[in-house]
């Protein structure tokens, strides 16, 4: 499938938001307390909303008559371009919170920069999303601090989550040749320099949480190119079941 670089970029942004949003939706009715059940659902809905905007733009860029449902519900795992971090299982509450913090601490400055980029549509979606991601950072930071600096068990679970998810964070800052072309033209933004911002956000939170920042060792990669962990297929089986069983079904 010949894709334009802009379509590929938009699809990645959409897939990140959809897959992480779906992960958060899996907590619905299962969170430790009602207030957090709603908080996770709210964040999930923020992400699904972002996904819809990006998919809608992607369908227009592609111009092949596929609609947003076709992109969300009728592509196989290998066609998804989300980073591996967002498809990692929810695990325990600490794992979900830390995963959300690691992603949001990147997405907030990324969308802030994207809102000033040349592509007007991406900039407009990013301008709306940046406020949502700022709250995700706020909420998950407060939880990370309380889990890390809480009981012995909560500390151990938060540290395990941080250690387990850290190798997936390198992919957030990756680009490929096609994307670098767009960056050079100012159409989109380079994620690499945002690592400094990401560090400045995370380091005080990790310190206040009395957690140890993992070393930047070998990093997992491949989701952006369609090489996914075994978890994505199971997630899609759930996410896509209705449209697979009843193609074209509507409310």
């Amino acid at each position: 499938m010949a894709e334009t670089p802009l379509f590929a970029l938009t699809l990645r942004l959409a897939d990140n938001a959809l897959i992480l949003g779906h992960r958060l939706s899996e907590w619905c009715g299962h969170a430790p307390m009602l207030e957090e059940d709603l908080a996770l659902a709210n964040m999930g809905l923020d992400l699904v909303g972002q996904a819809r905007s990006f998919y809608d733009y992607a369908t227009k860029l592609e111009g092949k008559g596929r609609d947003e449902d076709a992109l969300a519900y009728r592509r196989d795992a290998i066609d998804f371009r989300n980073v591996l971090l967002v498809e990692q299982p929810n695990g325990d509450f600490a794992a979900t919170i830390v995963r959300q913090l690691l992603y949001a601490a990147f997405a907030e400055p990324y969308f802030a920069a994207l809102s000033r980029a040349k592509d007007e549509m991406l900039a407009a979606i990013a301008a709306k999303a940046v406020k949502e991601m700022a709250y995700h950072v706020r909420h998950t930071a407060e939880w990370t601090i309380r889990l890390g600096d809480g009981t012995e068990e909560s500390h151990q679970r938060a540290q395990s989550a941080l250690d387990d998810l850290w190798p997936f964070t390198g992919e957030l800052f990756e680009t490929d040749d096609a994307e670098r072309g767009l960056i050079a033209d100012g159409v989109t933004v380079d994620p690499a320099p945002l690592r400094a911002v990401w560090n400045r956000t995370l380091d005080p939170i990790i310190a206040e949480a009395t957690l140890a920042r993992p070393a930047d060792g070998w990093m997992q990669s491949g989701g952006r190119a369609g090489r996914h962990s075994e978890h994505l297929g199971h997630l899609l089986a759930d996410l896509q079941f209705l449209q697979r069983a009843y193609p074209g079904a509507t409310w």
Partner: protein, 95 residues
């Protein structure tokens, strides 16, 4: 011993500029920061608020229901305290 019960907080929301904060319900939270976030997540999902207050439920001093006769019934017979005996000029508008 650690207290395993998460404290209760009362939530007050101001819906528009110029309005007062109104009590809308309560949330559980370990501390004030989380109570404010929980209040935001539970009670402002549909654009209800511009400002949120939270206060520990245990900090509220409430009247005793068994004393409602002494507290409130004396006011029932003082109809003259209602400003219903005045003609409000049309120009005054909403009062």
């Amino acid at each position: 011993m650690t207290d395993k019960n998460t404290p209760l907080w009362e939530v007050f929301i101001r819906t528009r500029n110029g309005m007062a904060h109104r009590h809308v319900g309560s949330v559980h939270a370990a501390d004030a920061t989380m109570a404010l976030q929980n209040a935001r997540d539970v009670y402002t999902r549909r654009g209800e608020g511009l400002s949120v207050w939270v206060v520990r439920s245990s900090e509220i001093t409430a009247s005793d229901p068994s004393e409602k006769g002494m507290m409130f019934e004396p006011a029932d017979s003082k109809i003259y305290r209602h400003p219903t005996f005045y003609d409000v000029p049309d120009d005054v508008g909403h009062m």
